[in-house]
Chain length 768, copies 2
């Protein structure tokens, strides 16, 4: 892969300019292997992610996943040799797939209306491509489609994807619009689609999909920079009623198309390139037209330049020193944290709620794509600290979701105005609690009400039993053990928010619920273990087995440490300080028998550090738990190990799904030297900076400088930390200390600092 | 069938009251045989037609019609022994089928989620019923569901269907909601559906269907009069994604349902009846809730009483004398003319346009269901005379349709915010011209523009060739001959509107196009005959064959008379006065060889009067063409024959599809003694009254009395007509003469009146 971004070229021409942060972003990182990121064009938190799709693997007929579907969550695999086309919405780093909406593909020659296969691209409209011709930079993507000699350039605004197709001179120009294309594109995902030719440069249309986003409305408006010469379509699953056919040739120049699996083609005269602007709305086609008019008036260059400027302004709030590779990893991680959640609202403030109705977002921007099981850990805490106004609007979006929800719950996995119910817990709660406690979201009572109501929905995975017994029985849910640990932490978050709100009644209730984790630990092994309704523990239990043992995306060896709210309370349950520390040390140092991950699509050897699985999230805070033990420096050791092994500059550089920025946010916090082990506590546990210098322009206008002179793999240990000249005698910093900015000086060392009497971070049961 | 309506019972109790017109309406007329009417509850032009469906015949897999589908256009066949349930939208008398939206069925005992079969109703939720228990009256319908002992009563408002289900005492009460049910319900018609339980008495939801109405959005809100005890659902075509299943039992008490083929059940405690109110909106669920709140606040009785009052106020504008059977036929016909078109707009004025977008109807009520190939002939002319404000709003709806149409045309067959392209011509044009010429629709130029633009859409069935050659070649359209005749008349209507608007340029252009009919008549046979592009006539031509000879729903023997705008110009082409008259006389008197209709679902022997086909519309004006000949009294003879044979009191009493009121409007005009042979001419050709006395309260407030003392099958001939005492020396009356009201005295006789020198009605080529 040759990484030449537009901005690099710009800088080459104007060499007096300082390097811009977008130059350090490599959107291809994570686009192969496990990362599941896409290389295409978007703006920060934009509703459009315009990116090439290299394959469309359907489900097989039994409705089971084909293995390959998992690989195509972002539509693009760097190892593929063909591009199917460019579609407008992609998830960044998820482990479940959907979207790939509104695919365009420029071609020349004979019009083909099927995508064709990888092995035989000539059988359809797809084209071979070569990575030598491919460049990507935040907000822009370019590639040459070798089969047609077409140069395709992409850029985006919040709601509009912009394409420029430069065809070989003299060749008649085709554009294919495949409304049947989709990621997770099983047969029947597209329930219906319509397409209108409004005039010779404007199309509007709609499709309704039933993918992971259960009822997903995608309206669109497409403008071309030059007139359509000729057009047509084919409904590859022809609808029944024949009235249209009797009066028209509905497959040729008929402006009112519809179908279950519609592919349309448009031809243009040879000559200048075609610029195509595609606006999307979940509300209606009028909304899409308004989005188009409001955001995409300029030329391709102007829009691309605006997209780049939007990235530079966000990325540029961070200045780092390090090698080129280190800068690339830092800015690419930062880029990945700012893709999802995504704006889900028209320019006029209208959006489609989870109730399917059209709402107006009054005083906030509505967002979707809340992968909360992942992102409550570091992504939202990161946004809460560094992009607090966007994070607050995301919380407003979550509260609106609750108010519109038939189930009466905050989002679990919010996806395009739908609830996807992926993974477990009710982790919107800690996201909100974190913002309430830190004061970045001001609650009028609505959010706390939503948090409490969500935690009381008895028919949601074992909640009724959890409330009655203090745990989710294994006979009620086969992931009851991990779910109990998650509910217990989420309940602590309600406690924290209730304390902040002065709601003593709720605080007392949820302080109790927050200790439900205690019900799971089996003293005979010192690990969490699923229990049946009758109170007995599951027999024949294997703490290293991920599936079938009561946990989700984590085994007991990892998940047992998931009590971020009360590590001090957990230690005795795992056998006391010595045993706890040994278990923690063993976790990172052990060899995990390959039988435990050989057949698991979520875990590859590359995701492992000993028995610690970084590719799945439940352990993300675990390397920081040494702060509660007598060997806090082991956090400094292992965090650097994890960064070195799991974050590599390369297309397969991510050691697991990026999960909507969670993996990247973990990196960013860790690289800065602190991590939100327990979001909602207002504390960030200190690790060690990965880079020698990081400067951050805070949203408040203040500046935070983090210095770690001489830091290296060798000098990975923190000897001391001075905050604005004051030596810290704690293993954590407080939110306010970050916000106050100033200068943090880490003194690094090649040997662990064994300073005694450092104050340990928060634990529920040792607080007053 | 035992016809006891609610109102009959009311009258029996309060016997001092005069008979109300609803008592004479028998909604079962046409509900078997060819009528395709439904017996259920609606209000005049209401958007709800709540009626029992007795079967749901799917298409077979090849996508061809099964013969039986044709029988179920209105969902109900009187000859069936089981009811599947009660659904909310039905077409009245069409020959194509759709709708059957949102089916409810009350049951007791075990919940079943499939409809079951006619032969084995126990295999599903359907029930046997007996016509002895069944009553219907305008606005109300009742039946006992024998398998469950449930009494079901239905009534309606404009936008809300109201059900009252009385269950056997002590029995737990079920209601099935089958979102997969539909008329024209082939596999896959329902593209998607959602269902939310908002609280224990309110549901909301949505379904998108691809039926004859190509992209049909049906949002709904359902309120129950007592709390739901327990509920659940099954998606009979289970969707793929399993996230919901991992967290919930989504088939039981899960309030956020969705699926491709969703059937839901609700149970209620034994005891009082359940009243269910179902509001429909094409806009959104919020719109449905507002419709519910605005229209359905009252009790079942109050709503039923309002529905009856709405009918009485419309029907009551006509007072007739005659036998009970004659009154039944008159008022039932009047009832049938006032069902379609139907309101298609929420109470707040929002509606879904043919562009799929939401529009607001400013200053008018938006309507749908324009079966214009049928209804331009008599239905709209009838509404234009007697219900002019509704007809004017229908025209406004048509103009809005044009403005939203991607094709740039006025409606051809408007169906639920869609264009169905059924049948041929652009017959919105004469409907509008009729209203413009009569002054019941005031055009600001928009309508004329729409008419002209519609007639110039070159890619619509042969229009480009028609404009170039003066006829639609048979090689371009296999119904090119009838289409040429239809375009030619429609063009005349544009001419008439252009004259009225003072647009001489357009008048000249369309006066010319109005004579294109001339290009079709083959002098060797004196009938219209399809021509190829090269000008040659089709060889091996059979004037009695309906299909494959260049005509649609009519053979050349009938269709050749379809030149209503220029009968005087037509006569020479058919061989001159003597030959023309003979052909006309033969048409009614001949025997048609059964081979010409044996395999034709549109024509049965009962639809025929000689070779004249009353069941299909193209000949409806033909019995009146004697007015242009030397034997005008033959109109009087044959019109009475047609009424006697084609309009019989009985479930199979209609001699053809009622076609959204066209058949009934033909009857009403004919029974009053005049008929709009050429809508747009302002003239109504005189036949003879069928009844001795009809009094009409005109919309202007004036009264028109039509007297025909002594009229009978014997005294079927008109000796003279005096209008307000003035003897008429014409064979037609003018629009203004109807509107002026007063008294029309027909003197009837048993012998034809051979008065000479009666002025003949309008013909284009003999006008100055």
């Amino acid at each position: 892969m040759k990484k030449i971004s537009v901005s690099v070229l710009t800088t080459a021409l104007g060499c007096a300019l300082a390097a811009q942060p977008v130059q350090y972003v490599n959107p291809f990182i994570g686009s192969d292997g496990m990362g599941h990121t896409f290389p295409g064009a978007c703006v920060p938190f934009g509703g459009i992610q315009l990116s090439p799709d290299t394959d469309t693997i359907p489900h097989n007929v039994e409705g089971r996943y084909q293995n390959r579907v998992y690989d195509y969550c972002a539509g693009y695999r760097h190892s593929d040799g063909t591009i199917v086309g460019f579609s407008h919405r992609h998830l960044s780093g998820t482990g479940h797939s959907d979207l790939g909406d509104i695919l365009l593909m420029p071609t020349t020659g004979e019009v083909k209306l099927v995508p064709g296969t990888k092995d035989c691209p000539e059988s359809g409209y797809r084209s071979r491509f070569n990575h030598e011709s491919e460049t990507a930079s935040p907000g822009s993507y370019e590639v040459t489609l070798d089969d047609y000699g077409i140069r395709a350039e992409l850029t985006a605004t919040q709601r509009v994807g912009v394409h420029r197709y430069t065809y070989p001179a003299g060749e008649a120009q085709n554009i294919i619009l495949d409304l049947g294309h989709g990621i997770y594109g099983y047969d029947g995902k597209v329930r219906w689609s319509t397409l209108r030719v409004e005039n010779d440069t404007l199309l509007t249309g709609f499709r309704l999909t039933n993918g992971w986003s259960r009822t997903n409305y995608t309206y669109f408006a497409i403008s071309f920079s030059k007139p359509i010469r000729d057009y047509g379509c084919k409904d590859r699953k022809k609808s029944l009623y024949s009235g249209f056919w009797r009066r028209f040739d509905i497959e040729h120049n008929f402006p009112d198309m519809a179908g279950r699996d519609l592919a349309a083609w448009f031809t243009f005269d040879a000559g200048e390139p075609v610029t195509v602007k595609v606006a999307i709305s979940a509300v209606d086609a009028s909304g899409a037209v308004r989005n188009l008019e409001a955001e995409a008036a300029g030329s391709f260059e102007e829009i691309a330049s605006s997209a780049e400027a939007a990235w530079n302004s966000r990325l540029g709030r961070f200045t780092v020193e390090g090698t080129e590779a280190e800068k690339t990893m830092f800015y690419t991680s930062l880029y990945h944290t700012l893709i999802n959640p995504s704006v889900y609202m028209d320019v006029d403030g209208r959006y489609r709620g989870v109730d399917g109705n059209i709402h107006e977002a009054k005083g906030f921007t509505n967002y979707t794509v809340f992968s909360l099981w992942d992102t409550y850990r570091a992504e939202h805490p990161f946004l809460g600290v560094f992009f607090p106004s966007e994070n607050a609007d995301m919380i407003r979006s979550m509260v609106a979701h609750y108010q519109q929800s038939a189930v009466g719950m905050l989002p679990v996995w919010s996806l395009m105005g739908n609830e996807g119910w992926c993974m477990s817990g009710y982790h919107a709660v800690p996201v909100i609690a974190d913002a309430i406690v830190n004061g970045t979201y001001s609650d009028n009572g609505e959010a706390l009400e939503a948090m409490v109501a969500t935690s009381r929905v008895g028919f949601y995975e074992g909640v009724a039993e959890y409330m009655a017994k203090g745990y989710v029985p294994y006979d009620v849910s086969d992931t009851g053990a991990s779910t109990t640990l998650e509910y217990s932490y989420d309940d602590w978050a309600i406690y924290a928010a209730a304390v902040k709100a002065g709601r003593e009644d709720l605080a007392a209730e949820y302080k109790k619920r927050a200790q439900n984790y205690r019900n799971l630990y089996d003293p005979s092994i010192g690990y969490a273990r699923p229990r049946y309704s009758d109170g007995s523990f599951k027999k024949d239990f294997d703490i290293d087995q991920t599936y079938g043992e009561g946990f989700i995306e984590g085994n007991s060896r990892n998940f047992s440490f998931h009590v971020p709210q009360d590590v001090a309370g957990l230690i005795p349950l795992m056998g006391g300080e010595k045993a706890f520390l040994k278990k923690l040390e063993d976790l990172f140092a052990m060899d995990l028998d390959p039988k435990y991950y050989a057949d698991n699509e979520d875990i590859e050897k590359e995701c492992l550090v000993g028995g610690y699985v970084h590719g799945n999230e439940p352990s993300h805070h675990v390397p920081y738990l040494f702060a509660w033990t007598s060997k806090p420096w082991l956090t400094q050791y292992w965090v650097r190990e994890i960064i070195n092994r799991m974050y590599r500059e390369g297309i397969d550089g991510l050691g697991g799904n990026d999960d909507c920025g969670q993996m990247s946010a973990w990196y960013l916090f860790s690289a800065m030297g602190f991590y939100p082990v327990c979001p909602g506590s207002g504390q960030y546990v200190i690790g060690a900076p990965y880079l020698p210098y990081i400067k951050i322009e805070l949203a408040s206008g203040k500046t935070l400088e983090i210095k770690a002179d001489g830091v290296s793999d060798k000098n990975r240990y923190v000897k001391s930390l001075k905050i604005n000249g004051r030596l810290l005698n704690r293993l954590y910093v407080n939110y306010d200390e970050i916000m106050d900015g100033g200068i943090w000086e880490f003194e690094m060392s090649s040997r662990p600092s064994k300073t005694k009497n450092m104050n340990k971070p928060y634990s529920l049961t040792i607080q007053k």
